[in-house]
């Protein structure tokens, strides 16, 4: 039952992916300037520009360009980046794991810190821990990720230099052999525990900067959902039976409150993929987002399309996973094709 509806979600996601690829192509058409000229640099001759235009079908009408793109995509070919001069798939394979690793660690921080803050706030509703918790959550939500990045880098770069402020590994640490692209996994596969901790050490600041907004959102939602559950009669009853407050919180109030929280985690994951642009720039994180900024500034057509598609795909997959998780935790929620 779950799998059948998951498949249906996957089908809808595919339609959305086609839509996105068309949308991004339509946007690409209004682009001023000549991407071939920009790619070849101002010293290139007119003949060189014309040759590149022909090679990349840049002179063909948009539907033809789109068709060429779909044909190539079916061969696993996203074109060539004019900026790095390499296949876009090579670039994505190199840069995507670093971003996913960062976002996943951020998501873990978001849940591990955001949920307890929300639970404590709800539990001590109207008292000091609640006020402190709400304030932390609010400031988290209201501060742009790049500001967190700058603040953390300033603090840990100068005043209390206990964390590395850029890169994924110390230079003395050998880069682990590329298996998954996730350094946390690859270092362990290589059996190099110190390298694992080094990678983790490098992840902390960017991951925290990225997690702050989602952390605040998670805490706020958990709090309001918990409060709503606390007001329900069966909790009143549990109180009347004299259950310990902690037991009520964890056993009876948390689970129903967690489901609506979980559904927004997918959205927060998406927001993180976007905000990663801001954090990777500050921390020199060699991920897909920084690559995205670079190719956008250089109007690198194939690479922009590839980057946006891959981020959209990651986001859609994450949402499907969240939906499946929700339906496992609470089978009463039916998976619908268009989730509200």
């Amino acid at each position: 039952m779950i799998w059948k509806s998951a498949l249906r979600r996957l089908g809808a996601a595919l339609i959305v992916m086609v839509g996105i690829s068309m949308l991004i192509f339509a946007i690409a058409r209004v682009m001023p300037g000549d991407p071939a000229r920009i790619a070849l640099g101002p010293n290139a001759s007119a003949a060189q520009v014309a040759a590149l235009r022909a090679e990349r079908h840049l002179d063909a009408p948009l539907p033809i360009q789109y068709w060429e793109f779909v044909k190539a995509l079916s061969r696993g070919d996203l074109g060539k980046s004019l900026y790095t001069n390499r296949p876009v798939t090579t670039d994505i394979a190199q840069f995507l794991p670093a971003t996913l690793e960062l976002v996943i660690v951020s998501a873990i921080i978001m849940v591990l810190i955001g949920l307890p803050i929300g639970i404590l706030s709800a539990h001590f509703r109207g008292r000091l821990p609640d006020h402190v918790g709400r304030l932390i959550a609010l400031i988290g939500v209201c501060t742009p990720a790049f500001v967190w990045g700058v603040i953390l880098q300033l603090f840990f770069g100068y005043f209390w230099p206990v964390f590395p402020i850029e890169g994924r590994l110390l230079e003395s640490t050998p880069v682990p052999p590329d298996v998954t692209g996730f350094f946390l996994v690859d270092t362990l596969l290589a059996g190099n525990v110190p390298a694992f901790f080094d990678a983790l050490h490098h992840l902390i600041l960017p991951a925290v900067a990225l997690a702050m907004a989602g952390l605040g959102q998670t805490a706020r939602l958990t709090r309001s959902n918990m409060i709503e559950v606390y007001d329900r009669p069966y909790i009143e009853m549990a109180r009347a039976y004299g259950f310990r407050p902690l037991r009520i919180a964890t056993r009876y109030a948390f689970r129903p409150a967690f489901i609506p929280t979980l559904t927004i985690l997918g959205l927060e994951f998406a927001a993180m993929l976007g905000n990663a642009f801001l954090v990777e720039k500050v921390f020199g994180w060699p991920g897909i987002s920084r690559y995205g900024v670079d190719v956008i500034i250089r109007k690198d057509l194939d690479a922009i399309v590839g980057t946006v598609l891959i981020i959209a795909a990651a986001f859609l997959i994450m949402n499907i996973v969240v939906d499946i998780l929700v339906s496992i935790i609470n089978p009463r929620i039916r998976l619908a094709a268009g989730r509200g």
Binding site: A12, A13, I15, V16, M17, G19, I20, L23, I24, I27, A28, V30, M31, P32, R134, L138, I139, V141, C142, T143, P144, A145, F146, V147, V150, I151, Q153, L154, G157, Y158, A270, A271, L273, G274, N275, F277, L278, K281, V282, G292, V293, V295, I296, I297, K299, I304, T307, V308, I311, A312, F315, L316, G338, G340
Partner: protein
């Protein structure tokens, strides 16, 4: 638009809502912040010490001066007063937020109303289009659009608007679907009211609380998004003062000229915080109203 909540609440006669809003010190604090910022931005020409510093001028004798009289918050790398530029930055941010929401909200509301009420193919097509927009992280889509366009104020607003309306479509779609089967809608259908009448006269009024709350919160988030874009160099261009690019440019001088990016960062935090507090207050007030 500057303070959208209160007059509407008053008109709907929600005295309980008003009481709930003003009974919450956080909401009141938010309202004070918002009103103060809006007033400062409106009166920028009169309250700022160096209104001419908004333009393309430089005072190279006072480059990157630390906070001290007469520059309360210090000067930027052109020797221009930061306080003045932050206030004008607020003006720009607020204009952007108002314009974006004034365009995105009606589009989103109409799409949501039609899709939610008509159902069938209309619903499927409209909501799949909405999904397409929602499936790309908003910042990514706005960046992609800005990457193709020249970075100007107008294009910046366009890019943010393009990714903002789907959220309203989603919200109103859900409310409409719930309302469409309510008794009052069925009654209107029975007496042969036109679709337009049902959508805008019967269903829409019941969406107002959700729309208003979301819009208030969104003023803050549009400002956040705009500043993120300009942090990446894809927003409004100098010499126009823009909070996001001030943080980005100033960050290059950290920590030696900390004031260059610290004050604009705090300025962003304050305005987003203010609108969030007001929005939260409104939501709770509407809930109290029932």
């Amino acid at each position: 638009m500057s303070e959208p909540g209160s007059p509407v609440i008053a008109k709907r006669g929600g005295s309980r809502a008003v009481a709930a809003f003003f009974g919450n010190p956080l909401s009141v604090a938010g309202l004070v912040i918002v009103v103060a910022i809006v007033l400062l931005a409106l009166a920028a020409d009169y309250v700022t010490p160096f209104p001419e510093h908004v333009g393309p001028i430089g005072d190279f004798a006072a480059m990157s001066a630390a906070p001290a009289s007469p520059y309360m918050l210090g000067t930027d790398t052109m020797g221009r007063d930061l306080f003045t530029r932050i206030i004008y930055g607020y003006r720009l941010s607020l204009i952007m937020a108002v314009v974006v929401l004034a365009i995105a909200t009606p589009i989103g509301v109409i799409v949501g109303l039609v899709a939610g009420y008509r159902g069938g193919w209309t619903e499927y097509v409209l909501m799949r289009i909405t999904d397409v927009f929602l499936a790309v992280p908003p910042l990514v889509l706005a960046m992609a659009i800005m990457g193709f366009l020249e970075p100007t104020l107008l294009n910046g607003m366009l890019a943010i608007t393009a990714m903002w309306w789907p959220w309203y479509a989603r919200l109103i779609y859900n409310v409409t679907r719930a309302e469409a089967s309510e008794g009052y809608v069925l009654a209107a259908e029975t007496v042969g009211a036109s679709t337009a009448h049902i959508l805008f006269r019967e269903i829409l009024p019941n969406c107002w609380p959700s729309i208003l709350t979301k819009m208030t919160l969104d003023v803050g988030f549009v400002i956040l998004m705009a500043s993120s874009l300009s942090f990446l160099g894809l927003g409004v261009q100098p010499p126009t003062p823009d909070l996001g690019s001030m943080v980005a440019e100033g960050a290059k001088y950290m920590p030696d000229a900390w004031w260059l990016s610290l004050w604009p960062a705090i300025a962003i935090l304050l305005v987003v915080l203010g609108f969030n507090l007001v929005g939260d207050g409104l939501r709770e007030a509407f809930e109290a109203e029932g």
